[in-house]
């Protein structure tokens, strides 16, 4: 489902005398349906950069990336938008939403965007919010007023609302307490069971051990 071949990434900082920074070079990996793969490596080794390239958020300097049959490198924005809407999900660490929109609407949005009825989308969103222990009185408020941990859980609910066949997760369990951490890992297991291909960054070694089938050390994807 995810195929990465000889992918490199450099940043050219035009406003700093054109300095070129190489972050990833010649990365290769595959993630198949129903498996969860963890990216490992020290901080700054390029894990997030690689994930962002797969998501289309960063442009790869060279190489090939294919997600569920769609070639990401060189794809038109429209193709990426369609892919993200239907098939490629991304749970980042930061919640980025329009201020003032209620938590329920934030979580329902991915479902509404793929044409799910409002009733059904709200139903799905409520289930997830309940499972992630967001107190019901908060559902009608904007998540931007919540604590960091609550915001992260809302973000996870949003990321899991629609059943994407391919899912990228970036530190989904960071700063969560034991019960919520367990719920998130269960959500990942459920997604795997549905056949989703999952690529993630997990600092938490226990979490990794529980849900990941393989680990790939991205430190190897750097020019020595």
């Amino acid at each position: 489902m995810i195929h990465v071949e000889n992918v490199s990434k450099t940043f050219t900082l035009h406003n700093q005398h054109g300095a070129v920074i190489e972050v990833v070079s010649r990365a290769n990996l595959d993630v198949h349906s129903g498996e969860c793969v963890a990216l490992t490596g020290v901080s700054g080794s390029g894990k997030s950069t690689l994930m962002r390239m797969i998501f289309g958020n960063y442009l790869a300097a060279s190489g090939q990336i294919t997600v569920d049959g769609v070639r990401i490198v060189g794809a038109s924005p429209r193709e990426i938008i369609a892919l993200r809407r239907h098939r490629l999900g991304y749970v980042s660490q930061f919640l980025r939403v329009v201020p003032r929109v209620s938590t329920l609407d934030v979580v329902s949005e991915p479902l509404l965007r793929v044409g799910t009825s409002e009733v059904e989308a709200h139903g799905g969103a409520k289930d997830l919010l309940a499972r992630l222990r967001i107190p019901e009185p908060l559902w009608s408020l904007s998540p931007l007023t919540f604590s960091g941990g609550e915001q992260q859980r809302v973000n996870i609910a949003r990321g899991f609302a629609h059943h994407y066949p391919v899912l990228l997760v970036d530190e989904p369990t960071a700063s969560l307490d034991g019960t919520n951490r367990d719920t998130v890992l269960t959500l990942i297991e459920e997604a795997k069971a549905r056949g989703a291909a999952i690529l993630g960054i997990f600092h938490d070694a226990d979490a990794r051990a529980r849900v990941c089938d393989r680990e790939i050390d991205v430190s190897g994807f750097k020019t020595p």
Partner: protein, 258 residues
């Protein structure tokens, strides 16, 4: 995915004597897509918007629109009545200053009803019902339906302008700095409204703004303009998070938390 764009600009240029307004701009817009055009004042983004929305004749290039009846059609080849009709039915234009887009001497209801009457609505009760529905939809109390917009706050005027434009169910909406001049909290409310309207009505939109936070939240795609030319375009989050062009990098880095 639909194979044909809703709207297409090809090599659009506008010059005033030796001064270049915009130069060689091309893009396609598909149904349901929101395109953001960003740049500083004087970058040519407003000139471009006026050229592609039929308010200004481009010096060169062509603008095509997929009409309901005849398919893709050059707007330059359209007769004036045809273009004017398009502008009050299929297209909508939200001005930065609501005073440019509203009739301040006419009640809120009359402002919303005008486009309906312009396309032949002649039943007062129906017109008024539509006007109330739209006021509600843009979160203006229907108790204000007979008040003049000059008594409204800036945010309300802007929402009224949107209602007035959307009442005929356009397919394409042009917006020129729609949140400019509004308080931050009022901006947020307007952004939320625009986002849900775009989604619910399947609207396509072209938004000109200097505010990167606005395009981050509203636009699927982004075009960055400088000195009349497009220096970079792509997926909104990609352009903002991994800008390739020196100017875009400067633009992004000069903003606090885009």
């Amino acid at each position: 995915m639909q194979d044909e764009p809703l709207f297409s600009a090809s090599a659009v240029s506008k010059s005033y004597g030796t001064h270049v307004g915009c130069r060689d701009v091309s893009f396609d817009l598909w149904p349901g897509e929101v395109l953001g055009i960003v740049g500083e004042s004087g970058s040519g983004k407003s000139t471009l918007l006026n050229c592609i929305s039929g308010q200004l004749d481009p010096s060169e290039g062509d603008v095509l629109y997929r009409t309901q009846d005849d398919g893709m059609k050059s707007t330059q080849a359209m007769s004036e009545p045809e273009l004017r009709k398009l502008r009050r039915t299929d297209w909508a234009f939200v001005h930065q200053n609501p005073r440019d887009g509203l009739r301040l001497s006419v009640s809120a209801g009359g402002n919303v009803g005008e486009r309906l009457m312009a396309v032949g609505a002649r039943h007062y009760g129906d017109i008024r019902r539509s006007a109330s529905e739209w006021l509600e939809r843009v979160e203006i109390s229907t108790a204000r339906i007979d008040d003049r917009p000059s008594t409204f706050s800036g945010g309300m005027q802007q929402r009224l302008q949107i209602a007035r434009n959307l009442v005929t169910h356009p397919r394409l909406i042009f917006m020129d700095e729609p949140t400019g001049g509004l308080d931050v909290s009022v901006q947020a409310r307007l952004l939320d409204l625009l986002r849900s309207l775009v989604r619910e009505l399947g609207l396509s939109a072209i938004i000109v703004t200097h505010d990167l936070a606005v395009v981050r939240l509203l636009a699927d795609r982004l075009m960055v303009m400088k000195d009349g030319s497009v220096v970079e375009q792509g997926l909104t989050d990609q352009v903002l998070d991994d800008p390739q062009h020196a100017y875009t990098q400067l633009l992004v880095s000069s903003v606090l938390m885009p």
